[in-house]
Symmetry: C2
Subunit: 282 residues, 2 copies
Amino acid sequence: MYLNGRFLPRSEARLDVEDRGALFADGVYEVLRAYGSRLYLADEHLARLKRSLAALHIQTTAEVDRLIEITAELLDRDARPEAQVYWQVTRGAAPRARGFPENPRPTVLVLSWPIEPLAAHEQHLAGVRAILQPDRRWGRCWIKSLMLLDNVLAAQAAAEAGADEAIYHRDGIVTEGSATNVLIAHRGRLITRPADEAILAGITRARVLELAVEAGLPVEQRPFDTGELAGADEVMLTGTSTNVAAVTHLDNRPIADGHPGPMARQLHAALIADILRYCGLA
Amino acid sequence: MYLNGRFLPRSEARLDVEDRGALFADGVYEVLRAYGSRLYLADEHLARLKRSLAALHIQTTAEVDRLIEITAELLDRDARPEAQVYWQVTRGAAPRARGFPENPRPTVLVLSWPIEPLAAHEQHLAGVRAILQPDRRWGRCWIKSLMLLDNVLAAQAAAEAGADEAIYHRDGIVTEGSATNVLIAHRGRLITRPADEAILAGITRARVLELAVEAGLPVEQRPFDTGELAGADEVMLTGTSTNVAAVTHLDNRPIADGHPGPMARQLHAALIADILRYCGLA
């Protein structure tokens, strides 16, 4: 892995106990995937990381600007062409006090984990089960920050219910999943909440919407409620680790006939083709 | 300091980069003060820490049960009879995944910083300036968790406005300060929001309310709005580091005549006397 300017063995990767990420969730992150040694949509992830940093008034350093190159070198050193990659930038370590420290040095971390080659398992459209959960997160979910404890509790609630994901709603209006964005298909239209301040502007979400438009599908960005979700022809999740997944059951009740539908299949296939093309594997 | 069973020099205090506290804000904390080598209201802080842990389904270990003894030993080793103490317990280190890991070992951290003896500066009632901030925190603020990034931003907003604290409101109803509880005095009555799920049940808040009742002051626990706050005879903050402070200005406008009032003086004196008595210094 990589930490603050150095490539290190995983066992040596240690943070100061007063790193503000560890004390205050005062940092941001991105999760990316590399296929065939190529980071999919890396520029988009780096741009979002910088937007998150700017929102928190954490300075973008030269090291942050070099994250794509640093990651390429890390994956090369680890001989890991297929990888899940984690970028984290915190405000840095400083004696514990809530206001910003003077002249902090941001802590820059890159981790990677091996994943299977895309061809092997991810070309399959996953059918998943979801539960509904009240969205109790903070009011700035558009910032991809370390404020994830509610997501942890929601993901655990899903796991304990035998489900794969929790879909959040605020007062009945769907926001997003605990680690995904949520899209529905109804009467041939693809519907998803606008990327407002209440949700993360997903990189995969945005790419899937582009691919839908390219395919001539009618796309509507508007809020929808849990009733419309449960009654949709199809419910889909998007995310970097998820690609496109089809929700077949919500709170143990089937969505339509309880099987992945045609729009999920079409969008999943389009996204996989896009990844293969982008990463030079097609 | 102390970390996971060992007393260590501060420079060796390092967390694994995949400690869940650092990745997900998946942990809880307490801040205490020691005066004359005695931790004020230590049992109450430990009980609240355990309530926070239980709420997150983090197991209370024997090490957590021993935190008061561990802290006493740490302060003794450091020859630090007057100290600010920080306890932090996270769900532990595990490969990054949102749901709970199996059999995690909680990470237990104790830090301390020197403070001045109580006699020297804290017997003085502080007059402080506050600003109002919208409360954008998550929905489980009664848990004293590491989900503090909004508190960081609010504290920084206060500092940039030349103020000492930010007082949160949700849709105009006052919740609490970014690091304190808020109480008002009006026509001889002491008024504070009930310790519901939207705020932390402050240890100092509870003790001050007890002292107020003992002194025969009428106490009302009910919500109040920012109008009632701005128009109160007195506004007070309570907290472990704050003791009792008098808010003299809110958003640059004076509270009443802009000077600490009689109820703040009375409650501050009662709290200091209680600390001195509790810690065997009276």
